[in-house]
Symmetry: C2
């Protein structure tokens, strides 16, 4: 919604105001269609309009094209981030790892894989993607730093690599179904413990 009404000193333009219900319906229809399996490029304005029960013109009146609409729709999707409790570093990490790809909106899990190809093709889409995940990375970074400060974690660990270590397994499992034999539900606990302990004999 880059250029919608809103601004404070609204001169209250004449004529019929834009329907908020239409706004919602369009965004929802977009996310629904994506979650139902449509890929980004297979998604058509016509299909969105039909699903939303809206004329095409109503969409074009609000957004310049499919990309602009998608940008807004995905922004709506990201939902709230998990909030670590701050008691146990291990428990906080398990919480964060378990939250990967498991947004409040259940459609998110279905939509994420669709973004993978887009991410490498357009700088804009890459930026959008980073805007969503980088605050989550920051959250994990803070927990790890806290662990170091508290002496629970070693001071010489590579925090960035550790984040990838924790995030990677969950992400490939949720997004890519990497290993069908891996139980997704217990994975956060097992990943965190394995990363904590290491695998070398000692």
């Amino acid at each position: 919604m880059a250029d919608m009404t809103s601004t404070a000193d609204a001169p209250r333009s004449p004529g019929r105001p834009r329907s908020i219900r239409a706004d919602e319906a369009i965004i929802e229809a977009t996310l629904d269609l994506l979650a139902e399996g449509s890929t980004i490029e297979a998604l058509s304005i016509e299909a969105i309009a039909a699903r939303a029960g809206v004329g095409k013109a109503t969409i074009y009146r609000r957004w310049a094209g499919k990309d602009a609409l998608l940008l807004d729709a995905l922004r709506r999707l990201k939902g709230v981030m998990a909030q670590p409790a701050g008691h146990s570093v291990r428990d906080d990490l398990v919480l964060l790892v378990g939250a990967i790809g498991k947004n409040v909106d259940p459609r998110a899990a279905k939509i994420m894989p669709c973004l993978a190809p887009a991410v490498n093709r357009s700088a804009d889409q890459f930026q959008l993607y980073q805007n969503i995940i980088s605050p989550r990375r920051q959250l994990m970074r803070e927990v790890l730093r806290r662990g170091i400060d508290e002496g629970v974690l070693r001071a010489d660990i590579d925090v960035e690599v550790t984040m990838a270590l924790l995030t990677g397994p969950m992400l490939i499992q949720r997004v890519l179904q990497w290993n069908p034999d891996l139980d997704e539900q217990s994975l956060p606990d097992r990943v965190v413990d394995a990363v904590l302990e290491g695998i070398r004999a000692r």
Copy 2:
């Protein structure tokens, strides 16, 4: 090439035989177009035919449609797997981790992200994907088991989770560009060492 000539007791059908050069050209054109950034669904038979210097009928004579062609093309792509030397478990793991998404065919890296959405939509495509990666998982599994047998790795580790731990970070970085600040080149070493040592203070 599900139903091509080949079979032993070939009755040697009359008429002009199919051109092997056309076969190659079609497959190559398909992989090239994908590697150049075309998504799977944006890929059209017409474009492939034009690129391969081939008539559309020549493609339809061989494959039922885009899906069948893609299936064959991707089978060609998988290339050879890295072969661990077998001396040091750590070095073997670094080799395997470094090989993730880095097939002999340089086009593979570009194509992999395009597969992510497809994997969750069709059982066939999921199977194809698993056929490619499961032998690689097996290779890593064997190295880990060897490590346990040799006493380099603890006997109580969860091998499957450990594989995810090693694979995940590399995969999200190569395929999803998860963290732009992470140096991809040194990542295999750092991931393997981090997994070996763990991060808990001791």
